[in-house]
């Protein structure tokens, strides 16, 4: 394969933010054994937090 990768992402419910300079920008996504929570930092940079959920997903 040479070219742009194409693969649909499944969506999951949104997560909550913690203190500090970030808040979720989009609903959480699932990618294989990890779940992705997207945040944006105070200065505008993206921050992604990945959590291991295993093959069956979150409990």
């Amino acid at each position: 394969m040479v070219g742009k990768p194409r693969e649909p992402d499944a969506s999951e419910p949104a997560a909550s933010a913690d203190r500090g300079a970030a808040c979720p920008a989009r609903p959480e996504e699932r990618c294989g054994v990890v779940q992705v929570a997207r945040h944006v930092k105070d200065d505008g940079r993206a921050l992604l937090l990945y959590t291991y959920v295993g093959e069956r997903g979150p409990a």
Partner: protein, 311 residues
């Protein structure tokens, strides 16, 4: 903002990211920017009290949109440790994080090559000791993956597939193998303990791997790194480089060519003994020709013993 200049003499791009001169350099432990933000502590790059794996845009990027990307991948919120000491589930999760970033960055029109790597140890220029790696999204095809594609053409097919077959047939440089991956010191290794971890089947990128293959890849990379640490009984510095298919945008209908890339991970450790570093000097820098003082077959035997000790 980075600037790209094309070196006509060498036929390659050079990136100037002068803001990186001011990047954080070996901070004290309690000022590590990759640690979580503790209550009453300084706000770090990750403003949460705990996390598993974090990815963020580099504050001092070599490349940035709309001409590429630079991301930091933090493997754990624990300051001490290394890729080799991660729990197996965390290492497996990291493979999926890499896969996710390859997919997302590679889909961008301005990124032609997604390069996932880790620099470990001050010997290779690490400025933060917290376990982490990086991802560069190059707005051009860099020379090394370009050379690998040229090797595909020269060999009339996938070069890593052909070289893997040769290594399996020869056997002297093999380190270990399983149903998913094969690890070996390459026939023409540049570094004394260079090693390649190659997908057994033809997988252009992480996106093409089965979940079980990703699990096996994570285990193989950890096995090798633990063996490295056992080699001289010290944290072993290295550059770990993932080579995958380019994500170049091609004109509609254009011939994709015979090449596709083949996912493999190359390790370049600078140590040639417990205390001696291999320097890139006259021949390597001035002529572009490596001179090695170690035979790959002998390195492989030594490394096999170290891996066995670490297992």
């Amino acid at each position: 903002v980075s600037e790209l200049r094309f070196d006509e003499l060498r036929g390659e791009q050079v990136a100037y990211a002068i803001h990186r001169q001011d990047r954080t350099f070996l901070p004290a432990r309690d000022h590590c920017p990759l640690c979580p933000t503790r209550p009453d502590g300084p706000v770090t790059e990750i403003p949460f009290p705990a996390f598993e794996i974090a990815v963020f845009e580099n504050r001092f990027p070599s490349f940035t949109a709309p001409l590429g990307a630079a991301e930091v991948v933090v493997y754990t919120d624990q300051h001490d440790g290394s890729f080799g000491t991660l729990e197996p589930e965390r290492a497996e999760a990291l493979m999926w994080v890499w896969r996710h970033r390859y997919h997302e960055l590679g889909a961008r029109e301005d990124i032609d090559y997604v390069f996932i790597f880790e620099n470990r140890g001050v010997e290779v220029g690490v400025t933060l000791s917290h376990p982490h790696g990086q991802i560069y999204g190059y707005p051009f095809l860099p020379p090394v993956p370009g050379l690998e594609l040229a090797a595909d053409e020269r060999l009339g097919g996938c070069a890593p597939c052909a070289l893997l077959e040769r290594e399996l047939t020869d056997g002297r440089r093999l380190l270990f193998e399983d149903e998913g991956v094969v690890a070996y010191v390459p026939y023409a290794a540049r570094w004394a303990y260079e090693a390649h971890v190659v997908m057994r089947e033809h997988r252009p990128s992480l996106l093409d791997c089965h979940p079980e293959e990703l699990r096996l890849l994570a285990g193989a990379l950890q096995r090798l790194v633990r063996g490295y640490d056992a080699l001289f009984e010290r944290p072993f510095p290295y550059v770990m480089a993932l080579h995958q298919a380019p994500t170049v945008t091609r004109e509609p209908g254009a011939d994709a060519g015979p090449t596709s890339g083949h996912l493999h991970v190359e390790f370049y450790p600078p140590l040639r003994t417990a205390e001696k570093l291999k320097y890139l000097a006259g021949s390597e820098q001035g002529a572009g020709s490596f001179i090695s003082d170690t035979l790959p077959e002998e390195s492989a035997a030594t490394l096999r013993e170290a891996i066995a000790r670490a297992s």
